[in-house]
Symmetry: none
C-alpha cells in the first residue's frame, strides 16, 4: 500500500532504521547530508526536514561543520504530557520534591547504594572527558537517590519531573545546549550531594540538592 505520510516522516523512519539495525550505532557519524539524500533518493531540503524531526526526538545530534551523529535511542516521549507550562515552576517543584525525597534517602541509604552512586559519577566523568553528554548518567543519579528512599512511587514522580526537564523537545526548542563546562559543574554538584549522603547528613544532602537544582535551573533558563 502506498505510504501516505509526509516524505520527511518516511525519510526519518528510514534513517531511524539505519541506526536501529546497527549500521550507525550511538556515537557513529552518519553520511553527510548530500550523500545521505542521494542514497535515499530524496532532495536535500526533504532530508533536512527529516533530520529536524530526528533532532527533535533526540535520535541524532547535528554539529555544523562536523556531521550528523547517532545518539542513544531515546525513550518514547509521553504524548505531550506536561505538568505545567512554567520551566521555573518545574525547577522549583523539583527542588521541593527532590529535597524531601533526599531526606528520606539519606535516612535509608546503604553502602551498596553509595557505591552505585559513585559508579554513576565515575561513568558521568568519563562521558564528559570524552566530549559526550552524560544525559543518561544524570538521570541515573537522580533516580538512584530516589530509589534509596525505598519507594517506587517517589521514584516515578522524580523520573517524571526529570524527563519533563530533559525532554528532547524541552531542551532543543529552548535552544539551550549543555557544554562540557556546564556538565562539569553539574558533576561537581552531584559529588557534593554524594558527599553529604556518605556522611549521613540529611539536611546537608537536602541543601546540596537544592543548590544543584537551582544551578541547573539557571543553566537551563538563562542564556
Amino acid at each position: 500500500m502506498t505510504d501516505t505520510r509526509r516524505l520527511y516522516q518516511q525519510i526519518a523512519d528510514q534513517v531511524r532504521q539505519l541506526m536501529q539495525n546497527g549500521q550507525y550505532p550511538p556515537g557513529a557519524r552518519l553520511p553527510a547530508e548530500r550523500e545521505l539524500a542521494q542514497q535515499l533518493g530524496v532532495s536535500r531540503p526533504s532530508l533536512r526536514e527529516a533530520l529536524i524531526a530526528l533532532e527533535i526526538d533526540g535520535s541524532i545530534e547535528i554539529r555544523m561543520g562536523s556531521g550528523i551523529y547517532a545518539t542513544s535511542p531515546s525513550r518514547p516521549l509521553p504524548a505531550n504530557r506536561s505538568l505545567g507550562e512554567s520551566p521555573m515552576e518545574l525547577m522549583q517543584a523539583r527542588a521541593v520534591i527532590e529535597g524531601a525525597v533526599i531526606v528520606q534517602a539519606a535516612a535509608a541509604v546503604t553502602p551498596e547504594a553509595l557505591s552505585g552512586l559513585t559508579d554513576i559519577l565515575v561513568a558521568m566523568r568519563r562521558e564528559i572527558d570524552e566530549g559526550r553528554k552524560p544525559m543518561e548518567q544524570d538521570r541515573q543519579f537522580h533516580l538512584a537517590i530516589a530509589d534509596c528512599a525505598g519507594n517506587a512511587v517517589l521514584g516515578a514522580v522524580v523520573a517524571q519531573l526529570f524527563d519533563e526537564r530533559h525532554s528532547p523537545m524541552s531542551d532543543r526548542m529552548r535552544g539551550r545546549f549543555e557544554t562540557p563546562e556546564t556538565w562539569r559543574a553539574a558533576l561537581n554538584e552531584h559529588e557534593a550531594i554524594l558527599a553529604c549522603l556518605d556522611a549521613r547528613n540529611p539536611l546537608g544532602a537536602q541543601a546540596a540538592m537544592h543548590a544543584h537544582l537551582t544551578a541547573s535551573g539557571r543553566r537551563w533558563l538563562e542564556s
Copy 2:
C-alpha cells in the same frame, strides 16, 4: 545577545508567540507559507523546517491544499497513567510530597486562601451530614493547599497522586468503601491541618498532614 539557535527554532518561537498572543487562536488558519515566510523575513524552506517542529509538538496542524491551522496548546493527559503498583508506597509518597508542599504553602498562605479552605470544609461537613461522600471536597482541600504553594507543577503532581489514590479502579479493586465515620475522621484531620495553617505553623501543618495521610492510608488499606 545574538540568538545562536537554529533559524528554524527562532521561527518556531515567533510563530508560537503569534498563536499565544491571540493573533491566531486555536482553529484559526495561519497565513499561507509564502506569505508567512515573507512576513517573518525568512525563506520558505526555513519556514517549512519551523512548521515541521511545530507540527511535531502539536502546536499546528497542516492540511495540504487547505492551510496551516493553530491547535490547542496541549492535549489531554493520557488516561490511566500509573505511578506504581503499591498502595502503601503511594500513601508514603503522598506523605513525603504533600508534607514538603504544605511547608511551602504555610509560608505563603493568604487570608483569602484560608477562607477558601474553610469554605471547602464547611461544604465537606454538609455532604457528610447528608449521607453523601465528599470526594470532591476532599480533592479540593488537598489541591487548594498545593495551590497556596504558588507552583502549578507541584499542584499537578499532588493532583496526580490524589487521583491515583482515588481512582475508581483503585477503590473497586480494594473493595473498601468509606463510611460516614471514616469521612468524619478525615474531616477532623483536615480541620487540624487548617488550624495549623491558620496559626502560621509550618511544622505543625506538616505533622498534621503526615498524620492525616497515615490515617487515610490505614482506612484505605485495612479492612
